[in-house]
């Protein structure tokens, strides 16, 4: 298990990646602070504060971009800059790639949890069921990492893979109808409800808030099923590329 000894350095690298910290931690915190000032005191028809919904959506939406670190490290270590060094290193490269995937997902999850803690401690937001929310953050982090690994292994050019991962993140945010209402069409309606990991996980958390555990498990399990489906795809593509 020589790969285990590299895990420490992967984590150190993740923690020193200031640009990722800025984009996935500082930006959401700044945005949430601004939103909490703007939306303070406003409630929707059901009497819940608007800010609850915004905070939940933002915490989960930023997980869509969490896979970008996994992608850039895989590219740097196994396909580009350090490729030759890693080829002569006496360890299993597939396992190393897998350790990056795990570490990257865990890091993304931790950032999500940190944002949640910030909204609780500083902005005073009460999460109805924080354990369940954390579970969905974890699912989203793993899903995004897997998708990004598929992109980086499936596409020859890294910059194309990067653009694709942006399309994945921004696309699902747009499809969820957060920026403007989507047209009334069966395809858009599906992609704005059961075909969209973001709306699924938001829906799962909202369902728990009103005590509907059946619906919550149903929506969360769809995300889990997507992970279960994409994981073998990722294995096949990754093995083909790493050979």
């Amino acid at each position: 298990m020589r790969v285990l000894s590299t895990l420490r350095f992967t984590l150190l690298r993740l923690m020193r990646n200031y640009i990722v910290l800025l984009l996935l931690l500082a930006v959401p915190i700044a945005l949430l602070t601004v939103f909490s000032v703007i939306l303070s005191g406003m409630v929707d028809e059901a009497g819940r504060p608007y800010f609850d919904q915004t905070a939940l959506t933002m915490v989960l939406a930023f997980q869509l971009f969490g896979g970008s670190t996994v992608m850039s490290y895989l590219n740097e270590d196994l396909f580009a800059r350090n490729r030759e060094r890693m080829t002569v290193a006496p360890f299993n490269r597939t396992l190393y790639a897998f350790s990056i995937l795990l570490a990257g997902s865990a890091f993304s999850f931790l950032l999500g949890a940190a944002i949640m803690a910030y909204t609780r401690l500083v902005l005073g937001l009460v999460w109805a069921n924080w354990g369940w929310t954390l579970y969905l953050i974890a699912l989203m982090a793993v899903l995004s990492s897997i998708v990004c690994v598929i992109f980086v292994c499936g596409v020859k050019s890294f910059s194309t893979a990067e653009r694709l991962s942006e399309v994945y993140g921004v696309g699902f945010v747009l499809l969820a109808g957060l920026f403007f209402p989507m047209p009334q069409h069966a395809v858009f309606e599906f992609m704005g409800s059961y075909g969209n990991p973001l709306t699924l996980s938001v829906g799962a958390v909202r369902a728990v808030e009103i005590g509907n555990w059946n619906e919550a498990w149903f929506q969360a399990n769809i995300v889990l099923a997507a992970i279960g489906f994409l994981f073998p795809v990722m294995l096949v593509m990754g093995r083909r590329r790493l050979r």
């Binding site: 930006v27 700044a30 945005l31 703007i38 910059s159 194309t160 920026f179 403007f180 209402p181």
Partner: protein, 228 residues
């Protein structure tokens, strides 16, 4: 005008840029209109954010020149720095003006409610100048291309939110509303509002002049630094 010609060519050289420069404005034409907010259809408010992104992506070409040392070679060539900068900015301005024309003309053909297309076009052009000058000033501070872009990206999101492009300024607390006035995005949102509510012509002129003033200030800031 050799530099101008090659800058135009370079701007469209890579596929991502080509798609971004052509597809984003076209997508803006077809976004739906909201109920009461924003004043024009969604695409016409978000086109301001697109302009900011396009400006930084284009200005990065100049940054690449500086980082790779092309600017050093140019300094021994019989080209004045002023003409290098001028022709680059002209090329970017042409691209942005064309995009604005596409968005306004396309909306007019597609039957979007634009109220006063000419005033809208003028607003986009003056905002483009301001965005370009800001991008120029921004890249002159940075050394790494990625860092410059990603930092700027986060600032764009914040400025768009605080300037009143994403959410109506009326729901903001008093303090934030007053601070918003210093952001160029505020003046852009203000311009859209004034076009939609058929304010007198002088109001449009005032807003465009403010945006041009931003352009001038940032142009001066951004063009002072030449090399390294």
């Amino acid at each position: 005008m050799t530099i101008f010609y090659f800058t135009l060519k370079r701007s469209f050289a890579n596929l991502a840029n080509l798609i971004f420069l052509t597809a984003a404005p076209i997508a803006c034409i077809f976004l739906p209109a909201g109920e009461g907010w924003p004043p024009l259809a969604y695409g016409y408010a978000y086109f301001g954010i697109v302009i900011l992104f396009v400006a930084i992506r284009l200005a990065q070409i100049m940054m690449e020149d500086r980082v790779k040392g092309i600017l050093k070679r140019l300094s021994v060539a019989p080209v004045r720095y002023f003409s290098y900068l001028g022709q680059h900015l002209l090329a970017y301005a042409v691209i942005l003006i064309l995009q604005s024309a596409v968005v306004v003309l396309g909306g007019w053909i597609a039957g979007q409610e634009l109220h006063r297309p000419w005033a809208l076009f003028a607003l986009y052009v003056s905002f483009s100048f301001a965005a370009l000058a800001m991008a120029l000033a921004w890249i002159s501070v940075f050394r790494s291309k990625d860092a410059a872009f990603l930092f700027y990206m986060s600032l764009i999101v914040l400025a768009a939110l605080l300037g009143g492009i994403i959410l109506p300024l009326e729901i903001f607390p008093d303090l934030l509303r007053r601070i918003a006035v210093i952001l160029p995005t505020f003046w852009f949102a203000e311009g859209l509002k004034s076009i939609a509510s058929a304010q007198p012509f002088a109001d449009n002129v005032r807003i465009n002049a403010t945006l041009c003033l931003y352009a001038l200030v940032f142009l001066v800031l951004g063009s002072t630094r030449r090399m390294q």
